[in-house]
């Protein structure tokens, strides 16, 4: 049971990571900064619960807001220029964040114990859940509450004008501009929203694993963040969720026996997917097919009921 709950935790957090890249990917921009915002959320919310004794909810929210603030800050210069430069700028940003936390040393005595981020040793004592008597199921539900919340918000965004504007920018920037859309504003907004979600995910992650250090927040993780929506398909939020389930649930856990080969397979999988199904797993055709299937199913049920 613990094992299964552990997988649920991982899938939930990785879904948040993937969703944080989702908005910006809709506008056609690939950002490898999500892991930087993830790290900011992780360290900051940890600091708030451990050093300042905050309740976890305000700690999470504060971490997310600071991450969003930095996302906005990074976004403005980086999004004014070509998309490829954004890739470089975001790589540099994420590495900067990682190095910053690598050097961060803020040890404080709290309740007779020394706690806090300890530069190369990492940040160990993030034991909020244990210290406050949260059961495993409560932790998992807490995480998934946020996952479902974010997914619902993003799903709703696609029903209102915002979603179409984001996708229009991703489809054709010149046409979007000529329709009166301020490209930079839209992209920075998408980046800020992504930063918020990433910061939230980072905070949840830190408290789940109780120990973070700079080694977690590498460019490889940033690649996972964008891989989920790209491999899953950006037509709908569910694509990202399915990609996380497949990659984390099936590949990482299911292929445990493959050992190191899993990581090599990851690279191969990405190359293969981009060659054979660049639009992702769940594209508009799949959605149409699913709708037809559900419609057909409900028709069958109604027929069965009326015949009975």
């Amino acid at each position: 049971m613990t094992y299964f709950l552990g997988i649920l935790q991982t899938i939930g957090i990785h879904t948040l990571l993937g969703l944080s890249a989702y908005l910006l990917l809709l506008t056609g921009q690939l950002s490898l900064a999500q892991v930087g915002f993830f790290a900011i959320g992780a360290y900051l919310s940890g600091i708030f619960t451990v050093i300042f004794g905050f309740h976890i909810v305000p700690a999470l929210l504060f971490g997310a807001l600071v991450a969003a603030f930095f996302a906005c800050l990074v976004g403005f210069p980086a999004l004014r220029v070509k998309g490829l430069m954004l890739v470089v700028a975001t790589i540099a940003f994420s590495e900067m964040v990682r190095l910053f936390f690598f050097n961060l040393n803020w040890r404080v005595m709290v309740g007779g114990q020394e706690v806090g981020p300890d530069s190369t040793q990492g940040f160990r004592e993030i034991r909020y859940y244990a210290a406050n008597g949260w059961s495993e199921i409560e932790v998992v539900s807490f995480i998934w509450f946020f996952v479902i919340l974010v997914m619902a918000v993003f799903w709703w965004l696609d029903k209102v004008r915002v979603g179409s504007v984001l996708r229009a920018v991703g489809a054709d920037e010149l046409a979007a501009q000529s329709s009166g859309i301020n490209l930079t504003l839209v992209k920075v907004a998408a980046m800020t929203g992504g930063g918020l979600v990433a910061g939230l995910g980072g905070g949840l992650y830190a408290h789940s694993v109780t120990y973070v250090d700079h080694n977690t927040f590498t460019i490889l993780l940033a690649t996972f963040a964008v891989a989920y929506p790209i491999l899953g398909g950006t037509s709908t939020v569910f694509g990202t969720l399915i990609a996380v389930i497949l990659l984390q649930g099936v590949m990482i856990e299911g292929f445990r026996f493959m050992g190191d080969y899993r990581n090599i397979l990851f690279g191969v999988l990405i190359i293969a997917a981009m060659n054979f199904r660049p639009q992702g797993l769940v594209d508009s055709n799949v959605i149409i097919a699913m709708r037809r299937f559900l419609f057909w199913k409900s028709k069958k049920t109604k027929e069965a009921e009326s015949n009975a």
Partner: protein, 294 residues
């Protein structure tokens, strides 16, 4: 702060000499961007990967210095493979797919190396490892001079190729208008493939030279080379050959300066700040190569 201006100039000099390696990697990125308007994220990994293949082969025949020939050739071949796997068959409408695929290639090569070597570094032959020349207060390492010299030769060959040969002309034509070039009889795909091979060979030299400076070959080299190489390309101006060269020396020198002043843990933070400064004030780089067109 216990260093004086002599230390400053010394570290600047060493840094600039080492920066020739960054210049070459930056050149590789910029060549491919110039040809296809795409970034090949696998590039630095392919360069290091080629060095590994080189070591593997020369250790079989027992002629360690041959690695400087075999390595670049291997990198060129890997570059060709990357072209076919990540760029050749991509629809032009999808900008993200080749980028993502090449990121996949980066991690594939990285993880493959880690897997094959169990993550431990391999010793790499140095060139003139003990040579050291003194000029009054300053000293210059022999191997750094050699690296800079080789790099200059490579840059010269590249400039000749791009500006004085038919291949270079074809590459420039394809980069400006792929369809028109095809209509003029230029084989677009072959030209781009050749660009990848040439860039790959260049990168292979850079990878070998970098490894010989530090004396070991390690998968830990790939990411820093990728990041620094990309920064050099962006600062120099995407697609600009002279830009990449100058930016390479600049970053090399600055990096060593930051190392002296702030130490190895913080050095890279300042290099990234330099990148952001450029993005803010001069986003098109030192030499922006294309006119401001959609």
């Amino acid at each position: 702060m216990n260093f004086d201006y002599i230390d400053l100039i010394q570290s600047l000099m060493d840094g600039i000499l080492f920066g020739s390696i960054y210049a070459i990697i930056g050149l590789g990125f910029t060549l491919i961007f110039g040809a296809m308007h795409k970034l090949n994220m696998t590039y630095a990994a392919a360069s290091i990967g080629g060095a590994y293949v080189g070591i593997a082969i020369v250790s079989l025949i027992g002629a360690p210095l041959l690695v400087f020939i075999v390595g670049p050739i291997a990198s060129g071949l890997i570059g060709l493979a990357v072209y076919y796997l990540c760029f050749r068959f991509m629809p032009t409408s999808n900008q993200l797919a080749p980028l993502m695929a090449s990121i996949g290639g980066l991690f594939f090569i990285d993880e493959l190396i880690i897997h094959e070597t169990n993550g431990s570094p391999i010793s790499f032959p140095g060139i003139f490892p003990d040579a050291f020349f003194e000029f009054g207060e300053f000293g210059v390492r022999g191997d750094l001079i050699f690296i800079a010299a080789v790099s200059f030769v490579l840059m010269g060959v590249l400039l000749f190729l791009v500006y004085k040969t038919k291949l270079g002309l074809a590459t420039r034509a394809v980069s400006q208008h792929p369809i028109a070039s095809q209509l003029c009889g230029i084989p677009t795909h072959k030209t781009n493939a050749t660009t990848f091979v040439i860039a790959g060979v260049l990168g292979g030299f850079a990878g070998c030279l970098a490894a010989s400076t530090v004396g070991v070959l390690s998968p830990l080299l790939t990411l820093p080379l990728t990041v620094k190489g990309l920064i050099v390309t962006v600062i120099g101006g995407l697609g600009s050959i002279p830009g990449a060269i100058i930016a390479g020396f600049l970053i090399g020198g600055l990096e060593n300066l930051f190392l002296l002043v702030r130490g190895v843990n913080e050095r890279d933070i300042y290099v990234f700040l330099v990148l952001f400064l450029f993005l803010f004030f001069r986003p098109n780089g030192i030499f922006s190569s294309t006119i401001d067109r959609d």
